[in-house]
Structures are given as C-alpha cells and as structure tokens.
C-alpha cells in the first residue's frame, strides 16, 4: 500500500511538472499583458521598462526556468493586475473553490448512489425511469444555463434560496446543483452497473440463502462493493467539478479560483493564470491520491495487494 502510494505520489509530481510546463507555455502564447496593464497613452519607454520589470524580455525557456525555480519556493510572481503575490491571490480563493467542488460532488453522489442502487434493484421501475431522466437531463444542459434557470426559479420567483454569496449552507445549494448535476448520469450508471454485478454475485446469493434481509443486502453488503468503482472515478469527477467551477463561480459570484482565473485570462495576467491553473492541477492530483488512499479503506484487497 505504501509503496503504491509513494509511486502514485511520484506520478502525481510528474503530472504537476508537466502541467506546469503546458500552462506556462500556453499562457505565454496568449498575448502581451503589458498593453492591457498600462493605460492607452503610456509611452514606449514605460512599456519597455515595465516589460523588463516583469522579465518578459527574456527567452521563453529562461522565463520558465526562473519561474519554476521561484514557484518551487512558493513565489509565483506578482499579479500584473492585482499587484500582489499571485500565490496569495489564489490561495485565499482556493478554499471557496474546494468547498464548491466538494458540495457539487456531494450533490451528485447523493443523487447518483440512491438512484443507481434503486434502479439496479427495481430495474425498469419508476425510480429507474425518473432517475435516469433526471440524470440524463443533467448531462444534456449547459452548466451556465442550468445556473441561470436555478436562479430564475429558486431565487427570483420562489425566493427560497439565495442567488449569490457564500458562508451559510443555503448559499451553496444552487451552485452545487448547477455544478453537480452534470456527472450524475455517469455516476448513476457506474453505481447501477456495479450494483447489478454485485447483486448477481455468489456472495450476495449466499447472503440471501442465509436469510439476510434484502434491505441489508442492498444497502450494506452490496453497496460497499459497488462503491469501489465509483470511488476510483471520484478523482476524475472532482477534476470535472474544478473545471465546472470556472463557469459556476462566474454565475453565482462565488469568490473562488475559477472566476479569478477566467478574469486573469482576459487580462492576460500570467502569474495568476499559472498559479491558479497549477493549483487546480495540484488539487486534482491530491484528490486522486486521496481516492487511492480511500479505496484502500473500502476494499481490503487493494490495501494489501499493492
């Protein structure tokens, strides 16, 4: 287990390194921040001077080298636009994004598990049908559209839930639904097919033959088995949540990394883009490690085997 985790951690580190190169190169391709930074009537010499200050006159690979070295020491450079350390800007916003992603994921799992289980148990029943339609709808609507409709219905018309802000549980509901609806379909499918497999397995048959109540068989013995494939995919879904946060945060005025990065892209604020995207990557790698760790907990075979 530990060797496995160490190996995964190394692979994660390589991923992050690779991601940092990609992010750095592409963001450098995307235009000159100086001209956005300075007023229209700034003089040529001021432009040159500013460019030197930010090291934008050096070759790309030198810029990357310097950047990577500093980044390792926690210095991602200063935001051109905010004139503060990019790292601070990102780290201050990271918890809100994690919060949103976690609640989005919780929403999707909270729907997908019962629907997946019930539709496996009562194949073709009404829960199977309704659940499947609900799941498929989430996979067929653009996130921002869902977000707007949620605000229109639940905030403006019904006035049940706040449309923006964060802090209380009520605030996270609409953004979490907008974010978490999309992966419900895929997760339901995973749970459903895993449950179908498990319910058809010898050990479930044995449990039944030994008189275990069906309720326990489904929700306890089978579900823990069926949770493993879902769990292995949770890292991927968490990444999807982080990606979706870029849109959802913008709609719900959520003070997270996604919105910060989107705006930084528009203003070509490289340090913020780099730090922001890199930290979402790091978050993704970490969440995968966490997943590796956690399904060791659920599935003892994995705990011992690797």
């Amino acid at each position: 287990m530990w060797r496995f985790l160490t190996r995964r951690a190394w692979q994660g580190a390589i991923s992050i390194l690779g991601a940092s190169i990609i992010i750095f190169l592409i963001s450098r391709l995307s235009g000159d921040p100086i001209l956005i930074l300075l007023p229209n009537d700034a003089s040529q010499s001021l432009i040159e001077e500013t460019r030197r200050t930010y090291g934008l006159d050096r070759p790309l690979w030198v810029q990357y080298g310097i950047w990577a070295q500093k980044a390792l020491a926690g210095d991602f450079g200063r935001s051109y636009r905010w004139e503060m350390p990019a790292l601070r800007l990102i780290l201050e916003r990271l918890p809100a994004t994690i919060e949103l992603a976690v609640f989005g994921l919780l929403f999707s799992v909270a729907i997908a598990v019962p629907v997946g289980v019930l539709s496996a148990v009562h194949r073709g029943g009404w829960i199977d049908r309704v659940g499947r339609v609900f799941a498929m709808l989430g996979q067929a609507m653009p996130t921002f559209w869902v977000g707007l409709l949620l605000i229109l219905v639940f905030a403006i018309h019904l006035n049940w839930l706040p449309a923006f802000g964060h802090g209380t549980p009520a605030h996270v509901v609409l953004p979490a639904i907008a974010l978490g609806w999309y992966p419900v379909a895929a997760q339901t499918r995973i749970v459903r097919s895993a449950m179908l497999d498990v319910l058809d397995s010898d050990h479930v048959r044995l449990s039944r033959a030994l008189g275990t109540p069906e309720r326990l068989i489904v929700w306890k013995y089978a579900l823990r088995n069926a949770a493993v494939p879902l769990l292995t995919m949770l890292g991927v879904y968490f990444a999807a949540m982080l990606g979706g946060a870029f849109v959802v945060e913008t709609i719900f005025a959520w003070p997270g990394v996604g919105r910060t990065v989107v705006e930084a892209v528009f203003s070509r604020d490289f340090p913020v883009v780099q730090a922001g995207v890199l930290f979402t990557s790091i978050l993704f790698v970490l969440s995968n490690l966490l997943v590796d760790l956690s399904y060791g907990l659920v599935d003892p075979r994995i705990r011992d085997a690797r």
């Binding site: 001209l35 503060m84 706040p162 449309a163």
Partner: protein, 524 residues
C-alpha cells in the same frame, strides 16, 4: 469657475433629493449596515498605481481630489478651497489653497506636503501608471501648509480638465506602512473608511466620523459592497433583498425596475463614448475618401439601435457628449439616410459597394456591445459597405487597435473612448484622432491623419483655461464632424441604478462613474 451645462436627459434625477439638507448632522452618529451590489470590481486601491477606471469604484469612496463633480455635474472645489491659473514668464502656474481642517482617516491633518508626496509618487514610473499626466509639470512648490503651486513647462489641458490630477494621499501613514499595505487598506480623507476586503466577494467600509464635509456625507454606519458580475444574479440579489442598492440594472430590465413598487431608479449617462473606427490612413483604404466615411455616417440608424438594441439605455452624441466640456447643442448628427449613403458611395466610385472586414467586440464591456456592433455592420452592409464580421474577445480587442503593435487596422472597428464626468475629449482625441507618432503618445489608436486637426488637438493639449478649451473643442468637433475624422461617434451608454425606498441616496460621480457613495443612508 466654469459652470457646466447640466442637462441630463433623466427625469429621475430631478426627483432625487439633491437639494435636501444633510439628513444626519454630525451630532447623531450614523448607525446601521447597508449592503449594495456592484457589477464590476475594482482591482487596485492605490490611486497612483491604478491602471483602470473601474478602480475608482473602490478608492473613490475613500480618497478624494482637489476638485470634483457634484450630482448636477458641476465641477466644484472639494479639498481645494480655491485655485487659480496664472502665467509666470509665459508659463502657466496653478496655485491651490487647501481646505483647512480636513483630516485623514488616521487623524492626521491634510497638508500641502501630502500633495507634494502624491505628486512625487505620481511622477515615479516605478510606482505610477500615469507619469505622463505630469510630463508638462516643471516643479511642485509647497508654499505653506495649506498652499502649493504647480509650475508648468508648457500648458497641459488634461491637468485642469482632470480635476487637477492629484489625489490626497496621507504621506506620513503611507511612508510608514509602505505601498503594499496602503493598496490593501487605503487611507484617505473621504467619507468612507476602509474596513476589509475580500477579492471577488466584497468590500466593507465604515463611515468616517471626522469627515470634513458635514453636509454631504453618509448617514449609515457600515457599507458592504458586494461584487456580483452576472446580471441575473445581481438582479436576483436585489429582488431577494440581499442587497438594497444595485449598480448597472441590465437594460432589458430597466422598465421592470422602474415599475417595481418601493424601488427608486436613476439613469445616468456613462462617461464612455462609443464610435466606429475606420481606416483613413492607408491611401488604398476605401475610407480614405471622405465621401465613403460620410456614406457610413448616413447608413447607420443609431437612434433605432438605441431604442431597440439598448432598450433606450443609450444617449446619442455627436462629437462631444451633453454635459462635457465643449458640448455644442447646435451640432447635429448625420441623419439616417441610406439613399444618400448609396449616392455618396456611387460618387466615390463604388456603385456596387465593396467588401470590408469589420471587427466587433464580443465580450461586452458596456451592455449589448456585441449586438450593437452587429447592428452597425448590418446597417453598413445594407447600403453596400458589405461587412465580413469578425468577433474579438476582450483580451484581443483591447490591444487590437494599438498602433505600436500593428501597422493599422483595415476596415471598420467597433470602439469606444472614455473620460471622467462631466468629461473632456482632449486626451481621448489625442489618442484616436491625432495621427500616430511613434514613441510620443500621439494617436496611439488613431487611424486618421489630418494635419489641420492634428494642429488643433496639439493646441488643445496646451490650453489650460477651461473657457478657451471649450471654444477650441467646439471648433475641432465641427471639423471632425464634417470630415468624419477619427471615427463615427454613435452613442454613450446609460447606466441605471436602483435602490429601495428605505435607502436615501444621492448619486455622486465617483468621480468618473456614477457609483459615488458620498450621500447614502438608511431611513431611520
């Protein structure tokens, strides 16, 4: 001082309690908390380091200038008790007498040394983004603790038209805490004191008890400014009562807001001027010919665009907006006349019209900008100036017309120029009407080259006397209009604010935008 013509189109303004006496005398300290919602967020809160106009949304509530614009768009002395413009050996000198008894939030009194400090900071390219605004200044002279003089090498109209440029910065405090901390927690002489800020979320302010202006001041203790960029979300926040004052009501919803019971609205012209740039530099460009430019001017029904696309949330302007320095009520726009446009094209030698690339901004900076652009180009196409429309997102758009980056753009290009309120077109014209001169700051986005206009704009730059400026601006505007030079002006966006009845609010420009929280409070 010159009194501006203040003829806002807006009936709502007349209904505002502008003339009402101060509601809360200093004796009764303000109480309560008010939450308001902005659509855009300031970035930098240090005036000298600020690069974007939107920054004033925040620091404009805390830090003040020598003069400012009042709700009737009249420029009034503010931190300056008075100022005079004199000549010293043919060179202009401005003498400013400061208002006594003004205190910073730290309790320090405001003195001429603070302005000297602000001047030095503004001049320093390592700190300031705007050192060029002081390029014409020869030296800064402190006369006594409440008097200073600014000596000019040559005239600089942007100084007088720009509220004397300088912001009151607390020298002692700023030197103590440093630039970084000051930008995090700014200190000024303004009605609001900084409490805290969460980027992308909110700014918290508290009323400054020792504020010098006892008449025009907030009557609520705490102000929470929420940042909600998405239109529908901001509207939802207002409707659900999470905020009681809302910035930038989406144009499509203005009517609905006006009818909402218990809600007041106010609509104001924004200090932004939309126009269509066209390439008149290149000899081979079709728009080099004034007849083609005039054809374009006749081809576009700006009034229809304002009423349909903008839901009326726009104001037609000819060359200089109503209320701005040099506004000329007699100057009329080219009438919408597609037949005349076709005639002009025929005279110019294009009986069958021609194709041309047309660039449009797709990430709206002002509401419906993309749709407006589409409408422009559709109208142009209808008379034979057939547009091949190309969309551009904000990041590309903002550097797109820069002459230092590209030779010059071809074809048509939806663009805008901004200034403060009430506004002075001098500096923007220097940027997009005067021809491009490499390295000197002239014509940085210009695709025009008219020696006569160039000379007049340079003269305008040197002219500091506001009456003289106004006359000169009118002259330039007429010529510019006749020749359709430096683009075709279209409209100025109108911004609508709304607040609940329990809020007392008098809109003050802040100074470049209608979001000054100079007089806001809760009814007791």
């Amino acid at each position: 001082m010159k009194t501006w013509i203040t003829a806002l189109t807006l009936a709502s303004l007349a209904a505002l309690p502008t003339a009402a006496p101060a509601q809360a005398p200093a004796q009764t300290p303000a109480t309560g908390t008010l939450s308001i919602g902005f659509g855009a967020e300031a970035v930098m809160m240090d005036p000298s380091r600020s690069a974007a106009g939107v920054d004033q949304y925040f620091f404009g509530q805390m830090i003040e200038q020598l003069t400012r614009t009042d709700p009737k768009l009249e420029t009034i002395n503010w931190l300056a008790e008075s100022w005079t413009l004199t000549q010293d050996g043919g060179k202009p000198v401005i003498t400013v007498k400061l208002r006594p008894g003004v205190k910073f939030h730290t309790g320090d009194p405001m003195t001429a040394e603070d302005f000297e400090f602000a001047y030095e900071r503004q001049r320093d390219p390592k700190i300031s983004k705007w050192p060029h605004l002081l390029a014409a200044v020869e030296k800064f002279e402190v006369v006594d603790s409440l008097t200073f003089r600014v000596h000019f090498k040559e005239g600089d109209g942007s100084f007088t038209s720009g509220n004397l440029i300088l912001w009151a910065l607390p020298k002692r405090h700023l030197q103590k805490v440093g630039d970084e901390e000051f930008a995090r927690a700014p200190v000024g002489t303004g009605p609001w004191k900084f409490v805290s800020r969460t980027i992308k979320d909110e700014l918290r302010l508290t009323a400054f008890d020792d504020y010098w202006n006892k008449e025009h001041r907030p009557t609520v203790k705490n102000l929470v400014v929420k940042i909600i960029p998405e239109d529908l979300t901001r509207v939802a926040a207002f409707k659900t009562g999470a905020i009681d004052w809302i910035d930038a009501v989406p144009p499509a919803m203005v009517e609905e807001f006006r009818k909402m019971p218990g809600v007041k609205t106010g609509s104001f012209v924004a200090p932004n001027n939309m126009y269509i740039a066209m390439d008149a530099v290149d000899k081979t460009s079709k728009f080099h010919d004034v007849r083609v430019r005039q054809a374009l001017a006749h081809a576009i029904d700006v009034d229809a665009i304002i009423s349909k696309v903008l839901f009326g949330q726009g104001e037609r302007y000819v060359q200089v907006g109503r209320g701005s320095l040099g506004f000329d009520a007699d100057l009329k726009p080219y009438p919408y006349d597609p037949r005349k446009a076709r005639d002009l094209l025929r005279q110019a030698g294009y009986p069958n019209g021609f194709e041309v690339p047309c660039y449009n901004l797709t990430t709206p900076r002002e509401p419906y900008q993309k749709e407006v652009g589409e409408a422009y180009f559709a109208y142009a196409t209808a008379v034979g100036i057939r547009c091949r429309v190309q969309g551009q997102e904000y990041g590309t758009w903002i550097t797109f017309g820069r002459r230092d980056r590209q030779g010059h753009i071809d074809g048509l290009y939806s663009n805008m120029w901004g200034h403060g309120l009430p506004g002075d077109p001098g500096t923007p014209w220097a940027g997009h009407v005067h021809s491009y001169v490499r390295g000197e700051g002239w014509g940085i986005t210009s695709v025009h080259d008219d020696p006569e206009l160039n000379a007049m704009i340079r003269e305008l730059k040197r002219t500091m006397d506001l009456d003289q400026r106004a006359d000169l601006i009118k002259k330039i505007a007429r010529l510019k209009q006749e020749r359709v030079a430096g683009g075709l002006p279209t409209y100025r966006p109108v911004v609508t604010l709304a607040w609940r009845d329990k809020v007392t609010f008098t809109p003050w420009p802040s100074p470049g935008f209608w979001r000054g929280m100079q007089e806001i409070g809760l009814k007791q």
